[in-house]
Symmetry: C2
Subunit: 257 residues, 2 copies
């Protein structure tokens, strides 16, 4: 998503050229390109699909079919991790307690289907500024409270610095997740202000914002995380630029941090 | 601030006409009008000044003189409560741990000066989306952790629904604050999306957003809060309208909720 201006073949070719060993994919471009074709593309390039983003939105109608399809796509792409953005308030679930209860219930219903297919569900807490319209799961502790109702190899959590950096309880929650074997994905973005209207597409380049990204990397390492580290920047300015240039720059930023 | 388009004399006259018994004032319009003149205006109208907003910004240079002046202005206005917006990251305090430590230290230095003058310091946790640029104190628990280093009649907290609504730990923190006698102010605004650029001026009219305001009022009541309830809407659309109309509408919304 950081370089969504690139086509899938361009993305895969540039990752290979730059020595990036894996990539997190989003469902929309994969489906546009064709799931089987996308799977063949990454497989033939020797690229790991680190995660598929995203299932979730459990407070909306049709969540079950949509999420089973997302699991199937993850299987096709060869990734074992489906990231879940759980959904916000809807007419049927108009307040946070009811939305959060629904999310836990839906994950419970989805988990066996995913487990049978070898896909882990990774609950991503989103920043509290998205609590009403995208994700009622706002803290790592909340995500873990849900995940811990299920076996660790079925349901875990995503640690994304952009969403969690402000939370003084997050470091302890990372340790808690690590001890339970539930750290399923790690994503980096920096926090820069002012936020743009809608607050979706203002994630900062690594090293340009308020987050101590090295501290987060150390925290994850001490908690036993050894998986891939993804860089996920939603940023209108970056999307307006040449995608190859942005990919190169992002890799430089990543290595510098 | 909800009707900042009104002059202070207009605001005071309209509050009296509508039977609003008290008003929270902001420093800037008070200073523009003249502190002594503003104090006389509200006193002669029989209006209570519920709080003065705001002191704080402890991570910036010059905080001590600015905050002592704010205390003096609170005394002149006859309010016993100074609201503190604690400040975000600055070059001198570039990360959250150092900023939070500085905030606690500065409040400790300011508290005796305020106490001698009969002014309580009320720490306001701001929504985590302001953590980097306005207030590194993001949760009620964090605010209480600082407040509890000092006597309850010197340092307490502000509960503002806009900032705290998303936090599943906030209800327990309200109880904790109430039991300790530290609930010093209660402010209402509703949460509406999409957020505007800069995320400062998009607070929703009561009853138009995601927050269960009645539940919050009940929570505060059960925690023993009997003080004033302020409505604080920063909203460009409301500010563009006739101030008297907005004040009347806000009062209707308040009574309806």
């Amino acid at each position: 998503m950081t370089v969504k201006q690139l086509s899938l073949p361009e993305l895969v070719a540039e990752c290979v050229r730059l020595g990036v060993p894996g990539v997190g994919l989003w469902r929309e471009p994969v489906r546009e390109y064709g799931v089987e074709a996308a799977a063949r593309l990454v497989r033939e390039a020797g690229l790991e699909v680190t995660t598929l983003c995203r299932g979730g939105f459990f407070t909306s109608d049709g969540w079950e079919a949509a999420n089973r399809a997302a699991v199937d796509e993850a299987v096709a792409l060869g990734t074992g991790t489906l990231v879940l953005v759980s959904g916000g308030l809807t007419p049927a679930f108009p307040d946070l307690p009811s939305a959060r209860a629904r999310i836990a219930e839906a994950i419970g219903a989805l988990a066996p289907y995913a487990a049978e297919r070898g896909v882990r569900l990774a609950i991503e807490p989103l920043h509290p500024m998205y609590a009403s319209d995208r994700c009622a799961v706002s803290t790592l502790d909340q995500a873990l409270d849900i995940a811990e109702r299920f076996p660790a190899d079925r349901v875990g959590v995503v640690v994304d610095t952009y969403h969690l950096w402000w939370d003084d309880r997050a470091p302890a929650a990372v340790e808690r997740a690590g001890a339970a074997g539930r750290l399923h994905a790690f994503q980096l973005a920096d926090w820069t202000t002012p936020l743009p209207a809608g607050v979706l597409n203002g994630r900062g380049r690594l090293g340009t914002g308020a987050i101590d990204l090295r501290a987060w990397a150390g925290l994850m390492e001490r908690a036993g995380y050894t998986g891939p580290v993804e860089v996920e920047l939603f940023n209108d300015d970056l999307w307006a630029r040449d995608g190859v240039e942005v990919l190169e720059e992002t890799l430089e930023d990543f290595l510098a941090v």
